[in-house]
């Protein structure tokens, strides 16, 4: 596609998306999280890595003017920790999801497009990976290797691709059968051209939606790993905050701020991604109510033999 057409479609997608309340809420929530992660050093009143000398009164101190969200088990400011902690969650979320989608997308397109023994092999491999319980395997791998940010990203990324592989393969199979692909072949296009210009652009929207949903899964996975104490203890993350709070008596002290803050942070991020993902799905999936191809479309003459998925006799825009 030339840049001109891409811009037409992107503008159309964007305007349709703007009208989608759920997606917009998700997007704004996510952008807020990214904002605080990026500007954490400027926003945080304290530097969470600074060594503090504390007295017994400073530990699990309730929210006050100086510490709006109180202090944690080591007397550090919960708010500052929270702001910095967003970074790890988001970094792991995005990068791991990216790895997953690249692997899943490649496997899906290859299996769907080439079929035959390759498809069989790849899909059986996918099935095996699906059957293995994700999380125990993640725990195992992380425990065996050094607990570092990179390792966590890699492990979550390499184990999270199965759902996208299946999705992409399905979509590839369906696009492969379309008449315009046949027409491209009849023009003389080879496989690389067809994959690049026909299969990929039609699979991409689904991949985008799937990525967003995988991001939320990756964030959750990371949080749980940190909570279990399997990540780098010097890294501040929300899971880590929860870990320390739980294992160091926040419950018995009644220091709800140390628990709720990271917990709600995780919920916030996951919810943001989910809402954004569903919103995008509505916009990008032609089978649902509104989609980007309905941009400015008036109703066109219905074909006499409507394609199976169109409704009989009910002219509706954007179908």
């Amino acid at each position: 596609m030339t840049t001109t057409d891409q811009s037409v479609i992107i503008r159309g997608t964007w305007s349709t998306f703007l009208r989608n309340k759920m997606g917009m809420v998700g997007l704004i929530a996510l952008v807020m999280a990214i904002f605080i992660a990026v500007f954490a050093p400027l926003l945080a009143p304290f530097d969470p890595y600074e060594v503090v000398h504390v007295t017994i009164d400073d530990i699990y101190a309730p929210p006050s003017l100086e510490h709006p969200l109180g202090t944690d088990d080591a007397g550090r400011d919960v708010l500052s920790n929270f702001l910095y902690g967003a970074r790890v969650s988001l970094i792991v979320g995005f990068f791991a999801a990216f790895i997953s989608i690249v692997i899943g997308g490649s496997i899906g397109i290859s299996a769907g497009f080439f079929g035959g023994a390759l498809e069989n092999g790849l899909m059986r491999f996918t099935d095996i990976m699906l059957v293995i319980p994700d999380f125990p395997l993640i725990v195992l791998l992380v425990a065996l290797t050094k607990p570092s940010l990179l390792n966590i990203i890699l492990v979550i990324g390499f184990l999270g691709w199965t759902s996208s592989a299946r999705l992409v393969r399905s979509q590839t199979l369906s696009v492969k059968e379309r008449k315009y692909v046949l027409r491209a072949r009849s023009i003389g296009a080879g496989n690389p051209h067809i994959i690049r210009h026909h299969i990929f652009p039609l699979v991409l929207p689904l991949m985008v939606v799937n990525t967003v949903l995988i991001i939320s899964l990756a964030i959750l996975n990371e949080s749980v790993l940190s909570f279990l104490g399997l990540s780098d203890p010097t890294m501040i993350s929300w899971g880590q905050m929860l870990n320390f709070a739980f294992s160091r008596g926040a419950m018995s002290t009644g220091a709800w701020w140390a628990l709720l803050t990271p917990g709600l942070g995780i919920v916030w991020l996951v919810l943001a991604c989910t809402l954004l993902g569903h919103g995008l799905e509505q916009v990008l999936n032609p089978r649902l109510e509104t989609h980007h191809l309905s941009v400015g479309a008036e109703m066109i003459a219905r074909p006499k033999i409507p394609p199976a998925h169109l409704e009989e006799g009910a002219p509706a825009p954007g179908d």
Binding site: K179, Y180, I187, G188, L293, I300, K304
Partner: protein, 337 residues
């Protein structure tokens, strides 16, 4: 008419069989779908030939082999003098510049995410012709205008769903024209369009034949449109041509019982005309287990005993066209044909 220039398409004894997957381990013999079974025909330069028949007659398979989208089982297929059955890879791709296809469904033939300009430019890009963007754009505009989409520039940026069925079909035609092929293979080009716009598209095809000298091989089941556009008709049944010749000759004087039946049931928009309709019983049998002798004889209203034993060949008859039927008297020629 055809003597002056060599034919653009020459098909000799073409066969295309699809093997059936064996579900039973103990099947003795391999079974085939005889989609195209010994078809020979010739298409001249700037000629319109219509392939008529119902589903299962092999016309679509024949089209796919002509486009090189299916490999032939046996026989020869020459396009613009080149033997297509031997071509592979880049040779095959180059051959595609000679013959381009127009598909039946204008709603599915265009990638919904690609602009009209890109769709029409795609063949040029695939074949690496016209590297210069400006020149390419000009070719695209020319093709769009030739296909009747004016002003061409206003269509370049639009997306398929913004266009009507007739306009979309014109885009498909423009994309086929941009490579300047010698043959257009039109597979039911108007059957999914509203009646009031069919004539437009058919007239366009005729115009292209006049202006560009392109030959058209039209596949259809609609005898009405055939009468309008075609110079010659070939009627197919179960993988064979049963009758072939000039359009008027066949439409006014069909000889093969199957052609007669088809013509008799084609709907005519005149309630006062009560015709004798020959409605064949049953459906076209599957092309796997072919009946012995003439493959039409089980449904033929005038079948004789010898029809189940002898397989008729196409022979010239006095009416001026060729028929494959034992019950039709061939033309007696004094010398070798």
């Amino acid at each position: 008419m055809e003597e002056a220039l060599p034919p653009i398409i020459e098909i000799k004894a073409l066969c295309k069989y699809f093997p059936i997957k064996q579900t039973n381990l103990f099947d003795r013999e391999e079974k085939f779908v005889h989609a195209v079974d010994d078809v020979s025909l010739v298409v001249g330069v700037a000629e319109v030939l219509a392939l008529v028949g119902e589903s299962g007659c092999g016309k679509s398979t024949l089209a796919l082999t002509l486009m090189g989208l299916e490999k032939t089982t046996s026989g020869s297929l020459q396009i613009a003098g080149q033997e297509v059955t031997e071509l592979k890879g880049s040779g095959l791709r180059a051959m595609r510049r000679n013959i381009q296809m127009i598909f039946q469904d204008p709603y599915e033939s265009l990638n919904p995410l690609m602009s009209i300009g890109d769709i029409v430019a795609e063949p040029l890009k695939v074949h690496g012709l016209v590297k210069d963007k400006q020149a390419r754009q000009e070719r695209v505009l020319l093709a769009l205008e030739d296909a009747g989409l004016k002003p061409a520039a206003s269509f370049i940026q639009r997306l398929p769903h913004e266009l009507s069925g007739g306009q979309r079909q014109r885009v498909v035609i423009a994309a086929a024209l941009v490579l300047e092929p010698k043959v257009l293979l039109a597979d039911e080009p108007v059957s999914m369009l509203d009646v009031s716009i069919r004539a437009e598209i058919l007239n366009l095809l005729l115009e292209l034949r006049e202006r560009r000298g392109v030959s058209i091989l039209m596949i259809t089941h609609d005898l009405g449109t055939v009468g309008y556009v075609a110079d010659r008709i070939a009627v197919m049944y179960l993988g064979r041509i049963v009758e072939i010749g000039p359009t008027l000759s066949i439409m006014q004087n069909p000889q093969h019982p199957y052609s007669k039946a088809l013509l008799s049931v084609a709907p005519v928009p005149n309630p006062r005309q009560r015709r004798e309709r020959i409605i064949l019983q049953g459906e076209t049998p599957n092309p796997i287990d072919l009946p012995p002798g003439c493959r039409f004889h089980p449904r033929c209203p005038v079948a004789q005993p010898h029809c189940s034993q002898i397989d008729p060949r196409l022979r010239l008859i006095p009416a001026g066209h060729e028929v494959a039927c034992l019950e039709v008297k061939p033309k007696i020629t004094s010398g070798p044909g």
